[in-house]
Symmetry: C2
Subunit: 379 residues, 2 copies
């Protein structure tokens, strides 16, 4: 546990709360949670289940109907054949990552990951006494790993890679070709790929390519928290190779018994056409926000060399303003009332040069945030 760092952003959060309790208004651009709640049909499905169904344990891998619904979602929306038998419903993406790493990581096993990356991904590997080799990535590779980087860093101890597309904090995606080449590189070395696709659905430019199009020998993590706006419910899923299903089931039985049943009932309505309509409107709203915030930040002087194509983050270089992004974020909060996340939360490589903006709040908030940023930077 000594190596599991607390999120640096907690300092920002706590300070923001303190300021708010003093009556100051804070523009929240640090939050990785959509401002939307679960769509009405999803809430209605849960309410109905509470009325009519006993909320007992479900199968460890989740309700068969929900696993089938996810399989159908892959088929209808992404033209992918992912049998329900390979889908484990989990307690959020957290539960999926815990299951994947619990099953795959033995002490000393090394996993290659990009730096910057979502910090918990690193921690899950550490929980099970694996080692993370964080490979510095920059704008040259869209802040993503490449087959060349993987080949160059592969060692005897390397068990596999953990990649994310779209990425948190950068919002960048792997092209279909890049994704396929990475998986081939890993497989050629007898390794395993864990692919974090929790922002699937929240993409604004190119079509989303799931790694499942290229291999059925990978672990894919997904979530109902982002595109489906079901954060507090704690519902996600994990796609695994067919011959790992029993081991995954055994881990899930022991570690969780099952995912929360009310959330599973709610999830059954997540793929209904009326839900999809709501979610697609929200995606358009996220796109509007990105299309506003991205040029505004660039105009202010932040360096954003790679246009983010998904998720709801912009990873921005602050080299024109400051040398220490932690101090920059704290000053910005204290002096201008804008909360953002310093780069340190996502790794070590050039972390002091970057901050992450989240566009998870309304256009009005974003405009006010940009106004305050302009004032702060020109002061």
């Amino acid at each position: 546990m000594a190596e599991i760092q607390p999120f640096q952003v907690m300092e920002i959060w706590n300070r923001a709360k303190e300021l708010e309790s003093q009556g100051k208004h804070i523009v929240q651009m640090q939050i990785g949670e959509p401002d939307f709640s679960a769509p009405d049909p999803v809430i209605a499905a849960c309410s109905e289940a509470l009325k009519h169904n006993p909320i007992h344990y479900t199968s460890a891998l989740g309700m068969p109907l929900l696993r089938q619904a996810i399989s159908q979602h892959y088929r209808e929306r992404y033209r992918l054949d992912v049998p329900a038998s390979r889908i484990a419903v989990t307690a959020g993406a957290s539960g999926a990552l815990l299951t994947a790493t619990g099953v795959l990581v033995n002490p000393g096993d090394e996993f290659l990951m990009p730096d910057p990356a979502y910090p918990c991904n690193r921690h899950f590997v550490r929980f099970f006494e694996g080692r993370v080799n964080s490979i510095p990535v920059g704008p040259q590779t869209q802040y993503q790993l490449t087959p060349e980087l993987i080949a160059a860093h592969w060692s005897e101890k390397t068990r596999g890679v953990l990649i994310a597309s779209p990425s948190n904090p950068t919002g960048t995606m792997l092209t279909p070709e890049a994704l396929r080449a990475i998986i081939e590189t890993v497989h050629a070395r007898g390794g395993v790929a864990i692919v974090d696709e929790i922002y699937q659905g929240l993409t604004y430019a190119s079509e989303f390519a799931s790694a499942l199009a290229y291999s059925d020998r990978i672990f894919v993590v997904n979530s109902f928290s982002k595109y489906f706006s079901m954060t507090g419910w704690r519902l996600g899923w994990l796609v695994v190779p067919q011959d790992c299903v029993r081991e995954v089931e055994s881990f899930a039985q022991n570690a969780f018994i099952c995912p929360s049943a009310p959330a599973q009932y709610a999830g059954l309505a997540a793929f209904a056409p009326e839900t999809t309509q709501i979610l697609e409107e929200r995606r358009e709203e996220f796109r509007r926000r990105r299309d506003y915030l991205l040029p505004a930040l660039r105009e202010l002087g932040f360096s954003i060399p790679v246009t983010p194509q998904g998720a709801f983050y912009i990873y921005a270089g602050i080299e024109r303003f400051a040398a220490d992004s932690g101090k920059f974020a704290l000053d910005l909060l204290n002096e201008a009332g804008v909360a953002i996340t310093p780069g340190k939360d996502f790794g070590a490589y050039q972390a002091e040069r970057y901050v992450r903006f989240a566009y998870t709040r309304s256009m009005g908030d974003l405009r006010e945030g940009v106004r305050r940023l302009r004032e702060f930077l020109c002061a």
Copy 2:
């Protein structure tokens, strides 16, 4: 993972389902889940929250109101002062055990546990590469560890003990004196005690003694699944020493983000007087079932030398009937349509001599089960 055994009872479950699908009626005495659903006020609290509250992430340690409600429950019902700050709300007792072991267990650390015990408790220690020293216990010590056994088995690698009262599978409890003496023995060696109290509230003879009466330097696991009949919701809690709260919070943030919020809203009503009235009636029903099943099994020839005082299990010796409890359970299912759990699920020590009966089904079912048992044993 290779050392994480699947539950043996799964074979029984699958066979039972198979028989049911052939139209046979099976008396279920293998189920560790109460037949009651969440009390109406609990369901109503969740439905109301779904109407009025956005279901967003909560604090990693749970909603402050729920932590306070649990603290108040300890104060009002058990006259114990357990501050809310030491209480972490978790995804069931599973989440509590995962958190406790995640924080406490380093590779090679040894934990002492009784054999028989709840199998997942063993597995949680193994997940984090700890070792379990399972100490054989029998009726002489109420199937519980004693200070003498702990002292005799303590080694340089021993980090602590994991005990349960009431115990699954035996239903036996530690007396207040025994509990206090165990904790003192562990503390005298600089060790840590994890105490599983998930059957708190479901006791039928002596008053329940929480280990929290004797130390604030222990980890206590609890659950909304048993006394509160909230199985599928996946809600529990963990009480930790004050100076471990930050580490526990960091683990919970990383591993879970937070417990499922709809379940937390529901849990807020779990301690209301109208809920308690329902739950106390259910406890009386469990007592009636125990008071029927226990003498009936003894009369049939099962050996039950220690009267179970809590939970909803009877651990019964089959030495008068058979030498292999796994085969006995399967024969009983196939020939008489009664499902029970073989001793192997709970350890290795004399496991072939024992089976576990659960009284989680109606009096009618229990009577039919006993009738079928009589027929089977006399055939």
